[in-house]
Symmetry: C2
Amino acid sequence: AVAGEGTEGDGEDDESELMEGKAIYMVSDGTGWTAEHSVNAALGQFEHCLVDRICPVNTHLFSGVEDMDRLMEIIKQAAKEGALLLYTLADPDMAEYAKDACKVWGVPSADILRPITEAIATHLDVAPSGLPRGAAGRSAPLSAEYFKRIEAIDFTIKQDDGAKPQNLDRAHIVLVGVSRTGKTPLSIYLAQKGYKVANVPIVMGVDLPKTLFEINQEKIFGLTINPVILQTIRKARAKSLGFGSETRSNYSEMDHVRAELEYANKIFTQNPTWPVIEVTGKAIEETAAVVVRMFVVFSGNMR
Amino acid sequence: AVAGEGTEGDGEDDESELMEGKAIYMVSDGTGWTAEHSVNAALGQFEHCLVDRICPVNTHLFSGVEDMDRLMEIIKQAAKEGALLLYTLADPDMAEYAKDACKVWGVPSADILRPITEAIATHLDVAPSGLPRGAAGRSAPLSAEYFKRIEAIDFTIKQDDGAKPQNLDRAHIVLVGVSRTGKTPLSIYLAQKGYKVANVPIVMGVDLPKTLFEINQEKIFGLTINPVILQTIRKARAKSLGFGSETRSNYSEMDHVRAELEYANKIFTQNPTWPVIEVTGKAIEETAAVVVRMFVVFSGNMR
Ligand SMILES: Nc1ncnc2c1ncn2[C@@H]1O[C@H](COP(=O)(O)O)[C@@H](O)[C@H]1O
Ligand SMILES: Nc1ncnc2c1ncn2[C@@H]1O[C@H](COP(=O)(O)O)[C@@H](O)[C@H]1O
Ligand SMILES: [Mg+2]
Ligand SMILES: [Mg+2]
């Protein structure tokens, strides 16, 4: 779930929760995002049954769990609620404790981090530190990568929606497409990965900025989408923006949507070096993966 | 690594790669982000030895691996390069094939997804679909969550850096702090999780917007940072922005930095209901986790 995770089962609504579905507890001594990300991917394998809540599931994220008492509390709560407990705990004693306590309390559990850590330890022939994220002495936040990421995000936000076409040459990746093809969220997602992204909207009757055709064409990507889906998205969008019915009809009416996508496709045909990515039915993460893969192939390597 | 992953070992620079460090291949039938995220977390356990490249590691991400031939190619390449292969493959036949082929070719390997999927399958008493992300019929991209996320990102970008204080009441979370405490990247990270975030800069001599004190105070968070670290960040920032030496000195000079942080702390003292989060030495993910945890506690539940 993107958001909407519950947290910190407070023991008061156990019964309603029980009725609402099976619980999955995710426990981390760090942020919990790794557990969340992996569990979400694994839950993808159960979409056939999660859809319409045929097999309802409630996930609960417990982050920053750094001592045994807190861990024990959560395990007891999991036992009470009949939850599955999935954990990432860097300290091997904590991980061992979680495993043993879960066994004692009859809580099914699995260690998400350990198998990967052990495979890497054997491969590198180095023992893992056992120190959780954020343990003293870590220098990561001030690393070159940290700065690269911050800079990429700053750049990308300022470049959003065609702003500052004079800076297009400084972007690593340039996305081009009509409104609501997901240029902004895709740009932001890529920026989090350290890429400076600019996006340029295609609007009928508005010329694309000249600079777009002057920069390295290998970093430009077109986005396209199925017209029916685009219309659905735009209708939802227009409603949420509270557009008046006149503006709304122009923006989301089928004829207009089709005409605009045709206009975009003409531009893409005129610029055959731009790969055109079909975003229909793809999550942001998936489109981002396609862009990065092509970017790496074109540029020969990474920045 | 935030970015800078290599990819698609092209077989030409095997030897230089061998000399550069041990290889870790990440293979996914989807985007590869799950593998990347988990492996990065696990690599945190080896920071003591990754620092200064005492035990150099090169990670390679192979995403969208959907057929056995491609998988076989990668495994052969891994064998040649002496790589560890970590994979997330939804199709159990593919996963089995990866395991067996790795054994045959002497490639150490581990399945990142399977243990979690199996734990969940047993817990729910439902068989996993075996269908990779993006397999036909998936409706996720048009789900309510998708729209929530897109809207949160749109809102957050438009709100950045104190823009549109009249919209503060529509934010789920409001971040307040001096320049370079990481308000923007933190806002964006939270937006990706579906939260509408506004951030308001504290600048000496500039009044905070009135609306900040009129909205629900429970969603406001202060950010603070160690002055020495802040100065380091600002120096790097001023350099990268190409500030003239005069602007630069005011922005990054120690006296100024200290005075500004003191000014911020005075504001925080005057508003004791705002939790103040120390961001020094924390990765964006960690600060985000703290904010979300408090937000959930304060608001009683999620939006
Ligand atoms: N940089 C790091 N150093 C040490 N351990 C880490 C690092 N990043 C993540 N971890 C560990 O990896 C697991 C997942 O992290 P998180 O995604 O923050 O929950 C936790 O057990 C963390 O302690
Ligand atoms: N929504 C989903 N439906 C089915 N499988 C998924 C879904 N999301 C992720 N996966 C699987 O989880 C693993 C990790 O996904 P990824 O992060 O895209 O590499 C891959 O094997 C994907 O096929
Ligand atoms: Mg975790
Ligand atoms: Mg993956």
